[in-house]
């Protein structure tokens, strides 16, 4: 799946996906759940939070 495909499926811009991948932007819970749903995975499998 390309960044563009993912962006289209979760209704955000490709720049947002790139920013999330590079750890420059922390997505909202809603977007995080949407992305996890696209990959059919629980949210904690896709996102990790470190203090």
């Amino acid at each position: 799946m390309t960044q563009e495909d993912l962006a289209n499926r979760v209704r955000v811009t490709r720049q947002t996906i790139i920013a999330i991948e590079k750890n420059r932007y922390m997505p909202s819970l809603r977007l995080a759940f949407r992305i996890a749903r696209v990959f059919d995975q629980p949210i904690e499998e896709v996102f990790f939070y470190e203090e």
Partner: protein, 136 residues
């Protein structure tokens, strides 16, 4: 296809911005205020139409966050800068008995008050809207 849509949207945005700027510049040069108003109105309308017809996601939560931060920085800079300038103008106007300078300072001062009032009202409205208190 999506990239092309985004690129054409950006090109259209730049084109509309250039047309509006040209029209306002011509209006200022010729002293025709109606031309400036018509130019801005048509440009805004056309831009809204392009946004409405575009199927591409143009604004998302990241863009919202960025514009919020940019707006806050702009608000801080403009209010502080304009406030100081207005104080200086009022003070200098009183010292030199320049009525125009003092008047301009007063206008700037009221503009700062208006900006602060609008900011406070919109902040309060949005704070209430997203606090969840109104849902109980």
């Amino acid at each position: 296809m999506v990239e092309t849509d985004m690129k054409s949207f950006r090109r259209t945005k730049i084109l509309i911005g250039s047309i509006i700027s040209t029209m306002v510049a011509v209006a200022l040069t010729t002293g025709n205020i109606y031309l400036a108003i018509v130019g801005i109105l048509i440009g805004t309308l056309f831009m809204a139409l392009v946004k409405y017809r575009s199927k591409e996601v143009l604004v998302d939560e990241r863009a919202d966050e960025i514009s919020g931060r940019a707006a806050r920085i702009t608000y801080t800079i403009v209010t502080v800068f304009l406030g100081l300038i207005s104080l200086f103008m009022i003070y200098a106007g009183r010292l030199t008995s320049e009525v125009y300078l003092e008047s301009l300072g007063t206008v700037f001062c009221y503009t700062v008050c208006l900006i602060v009032a609008i900011y406070s009202m919109s902040y309060k409205y949005l704070d209430r809207k997203y606090s969840g208190d109104n849902q109980e």
